[in-house]
Symmetry: C2
Subunit: 157 residues, 2 copies
């Protein structure tokens, strides 16, 4: 049995379940370094009223809860669609090692999801983005960063 | 009273509380279109073992729960630091209208957070990224997108 095929089929099956449950057509699976499926998850944006509840984010959050750690180093993500920038960023923060994806951001754009547009927005310089961004109050906020630097018992991530 | 100053100070106060609670120095506030603070939130990555529990993501999740909707159109985000790509993407998905931020991604990099590096990774073509990404299984996954297109009662987001 081709393990990649097995893991990707689990992610695709989850994307189908997502539609049946009334939300977006996306599914994901996280496999640990021993080749065991830790979690399967699907999109829950409209069922949970959570715009961040994408399949990959859900999978990462639940895998972390399961292993009691915020670091998924050595784990592989299988996802039915190329991760959007939210999900790709979550993979970096979680230290996911490798990503297998099936559909592309162009496929997602063709069915009216904003993945491709958000990739283009993030690349832009701040003043050219659709969401207006204004810097304000750094002189106060930077003192908190200084407190962080001087904190003795901090946990880095 | 300068409302921007008030809202930003609430976000900065929340970033200070975050350090006191033992996690990263980041705080955020979401203000609705009437100028009322909906939620204050801070980073909870290491306390919740959730690599996606950034201040802005937490604020967006909780504001959505509060208003029972996945759409925060018309709302403004105040954050003690420029949103990382995870949080900026979450703002796009949630339709946040405007962002005020204090510290920058360079300030975050100077205290060893990966925001700036992830911005650079996301811009790269897929084969040049640190996380290896492999396309696999589109012929099966695309059939689920087709089912989505043909679904009659779907909720778009």
């Amino acid at each position: 049995m081709d393990t990649h095929k097995h893991f990707m089929q689990a992610a695709i099956d989850s994307s189908l379940k997502s539609i049946e449950n009334g939300t977006g057509p996306f599914g994901a699976v996280i496999v640990d370094k021993e080749g065991k499926i830790l979690v399967e998850a699907h999109n829950e944006v409209t069922t949970q009223n959570d715009p961040t509840a994408h399949a990959e984010v859900n999978a990462i959050r639940r895998a972390c809860k399961l292993i009691n750690n915020f670091d998924l180093s050595g784990c592989t993500l299988y996802t039915s669609c190329e991760p959007c920038p939210l999900c790709l960023s979550a993979c970096y923060w979680a230290h996911i090692e490798k990503i297998y994806y099936a559909n592309t951001r162009e496929d997602a754009a063709a069915i009216d999801f904003d993945d491709k547009e958000i990739y283009e927005e993030i690349k832009k310089p701040i003043p050219e983005r659709k969401i207006q961004m204004v810097q304000y109050g750094r002189e106060n906020a930077i003192t908190v960063f200084e407190k962080w630097v001087n904190k003795k018992d901090k946990i880095q991530y």
